[in-house]
Symmetry: C2
Subunit: 135 residues, 2 copies
DNA sequence: TTCAATGCAAAAGTTTTGCACCTCT
DNA sequence: AGAGGTGCAAAACTTTTGCATTGAA
């Protein structure tokens, strides 16, 4: 993708096929994959890519706020190309991790800043339960 | 502690010195320690205790809701003996993880249940930022 | 041409497992 | 006595690192 290369360049990153592949994969999925899953998904089209490169790439992306790391209690981290602050649901039945867009968090931030004098930079809200499909 | 033994027994667990030690340690700290930290803290008083036992014990406790596992993005999990749903703050300056008791989460749960038909069982909210002391 | 990125293999770190022995009940 | 817990060492997993080679600018 032309656009992806552009975005990487703007972030000051050298444009490589591996980085384009990882970023595009994350843009085109809602699965919140982990490093291993990304690696396996790209294997067919990028047979030379190594898992170490996936990790290094995700690390760069994370620092440049191109992706968000997600920790839902599994042994490995998941990654999300939607970087704005938003909650996630984790279905304990099917295991799916989904994005959620609800209001009301800024009020909690404000409360925490005022009552506890804790300055909030970012937030991670994970809701565990059962999704509509599994109920 | 007499009470601790009682609690373990009520949960159907065999009472052993190791289990009492781990549970008491967690009850008496606000540090949200990880397995390694618990192990080292108990070393002086329980020199024979192994790290594997700490892990196994925490696993039992977690399943019986005696403790809560906490994942703030570090390589290892932290543990909290306060098992009711409550948010945590993580200071990016001093690294401290602290408990937080704010209202307003139940409204968000309700919203999620009504709008997205996701049945919420539990929730984990982590606020990253700077604590009052570090500002 | 130059500097950074890649890929491989090895290492590091956390957590789990298998099994002989011990200890609670 | 018997079921279950402990401790040790080894294994399993995820993630990181070092380094020679490759590739983007």
């Amino acid at each position: 993708m032309q656009e992806t290369a552009q975005i990487l360049r703007e972030k000051g990153l050298k444009v490589t096929p591996q980085r384009i592949a990882v970023y595009n994969m994350l843009l085109n999925t809602k699965e919140h994959p982990n490093a291993e899953t990304i690696y396996k998904a790209l294997q067919p089209t990028n047979p030379t890519m190594s898992l170490a490169t996936v990790y290094k790439t995700l690390d760069y992306f994370k620092q440049l706020h191109l992706v968000q790391e997600l920790n839902v209690g599994e042994p490995s981290s998941r990654y999300d190309a939607i970087v704005c602050c938003h909650p996630h649901t984790v279905c304990s039945c099917c295991g799916k991790v989904e994005d959620l867009f609800v209001e009301g968090m800024t009020e909690i931030h404000k409360k925490v800043e005022e009552e506890f004098h804790f300055h909030v930079d970012s937030e991670q809200l994970i809701l565990y339960g059962t999704c509509a499909r599994c109920q």
